[in-house]
């Protein structure tokens, strides 16, 4: 059942509470879309931690079958599906003005900025001595999607400003919040299973 649907225009920001168990589906409405996302957990302190998310799942990108982890080792959300297998999380969002305003609306501030995920964007890593980076301009196309399942009550913050390394114009992104009957865990690494189990035991 669709609980809420919204279209975020390009170069805009949006934030919303997402109850545990609901899914969040983002859809790119034009080629080259970008959706930079911050996440804060149920206690309003525990934030998305990209380094912990990456190192516990041996990945330098966000892809389906990963749990997005918090500073305190809890599961915030699970990436249950995506038409893309690479969402950038190594290059931040700049300027952070749009995200910062949304944080302030919820009583947060600059102190709460943390590493974001740039859904729909890819920054390729070279196998050279410095792991050089190059933005991939034709990665996402209109219709590409990613779905997250909230594993605790969340606040999500989304900016549709272009990726900071992109020359492409901003594109709009559709957001759909649904209350599904049940979303099964995708295949996950043991570390992700542990994070989900702890989250369900402690605040489920």
């Amino acid at each position: 059942m669709i609980a809420h649907a919204h279209e975020i225009p390009g170069d805009a920001a949006w934030s919303a509470p997402v109850r545990a168990g609901r899914t969040i589906t983002l859809t790119a409405l034009a080629d080259g879309a970008n959706a930079s996302m911050l996440i804060i957990g149920a206690d309003r302190l525990d934030r998305l931690n990209i380094p912990d998310t990456l190192k516990s799942q041996m990945s330098a990108r966000i892809k389906p079958g990963m749990v997005l982890m918090s500073d305190r080792g809890l599961a915030l959300a699970t990436v249950t599906a995506s038409s893309l297998d690479w969402h950038d999380c190594l290059t931040g969002a700049f300027p952070s003005r749009l995200l910062l305003l949304e944080l302030i609306k919820h009583g947060f501030g600059e102190t709460d900025l943390h590493a974001c995920i740039n859904f729909f964007s890819k920054v390729a890593v070279a196998d050279d001595p410095r792991a050089s980076l190059a933005f991939i301009p034709d990665h996402a196309h209109a219709g590409d999607t990613v779905t997250l399942r909230a594993d605790q009550d969340l606040l999500i913050f989304i900016s549709t400003a272009p990726h900071p390394l992109s020359d492409e114009p901003a594109a709009s992104v559709a957001v759909q919040l649904e209350t599904p009957a049940n979303v099964k865990d995708p295949d996950l690494r043991d570390e992700a299973v542990r994070a989900l189990r702890l989250t369900r035991e402690l605040i489920g």
């Binding site: 709460d112 196998d127 792991a131 050089s132 980076l133 900071p164 542990r194």
Partner: protein
């Protein structure tokens, strides 16, 4: 130990698993020496006059269009202000993607038996408290001397270090800084060669 550096020079040893808070004035040079080799030194940088203007790992990576840090790397803040520059480096590369260990992330990665092992984020909170750095003020850090290969296929692993006894990295402060250091106590992965060891801090200002 806590160092409030008003002296002209700093020369101190930080024991394995301990930490330090060092105030480095603009133009000051801070050298971190890996005395025994393969020792991860988890480090955070804050504008000493406004701690919300703090190091940003992923803004730093984007600005230099490369994942690893070495000589010439500009460490920038969330406002994209330059906080410090790596001005010398005999190790060759340093990580800023892997973050710091915590009791909670150890449980996720290695299991419940690690719950009460000491971890870097305990050290950050202990030494940061004095200048108002608490949980909200923690961010994603630099891991000097740590080897975290990131590959073109999007993989990431923790591997044995490239460092060796006596290797050092030198930073020059671009503004007055708090440098918050945890000499990593991790024993569950190769980031400290399975054996955490002391480091030396040297400062000139």
């Amino acid at each position: 130990m806590t160092v409030t550096a008003t002296t002209v020079a700093l020369d101190t040893v930080v024991e394995a698993g301990d930490g330090a808070l060092v105030t480095v004035p603009a133009g000051g040079r801070l050298q971190i020496v890996d005395l025994h080799g393969n020792q991860a030194v988890d480090t955070l940088f804050y504008d000493a006059h406004d701690i919300d203007n703090r190091y940003s790992a992923f803004d730093t990576i984007r600005e230099q269009r490369a994942v690893f840090l070495t000589t010439g790397s500009r460490l920038v803040s969330t406002r994209r202000d330059e906080l410090a520059v790596i001005t010398d480096d005999t190790c060759g590369r340093h990580d800023t993607v892997g973050g710091a260990c915590s009791q909670e992330s150890n449980v996720i990665r290695y299991g419940e038996f690690t719950r009460h092992q000491h971890a870097c984020r305990q050290t950050f909170l202990r030494y940061g408290a004095k200048v108002g750095i608490g949980q909200r003020q923690l961010t994603h850090n630099v891991n000097f001397f740590m080897n975290v290969p990131v590959t073109s296929s999007g993989g990431l692993t923790f591997e044995d270090g490239l460092s060796a006894p006596g290797k050092y990295v030198e930073l020059t402060a671009s503004r007055d800084l708090f440098v918050l250091i945890s000499n990593c106590p991790q024993v569950n992965n190769p980031c400290n060669g399975w054996n955490p060891t002391p480091i030396q801090l040297l400062g000139w200002w």
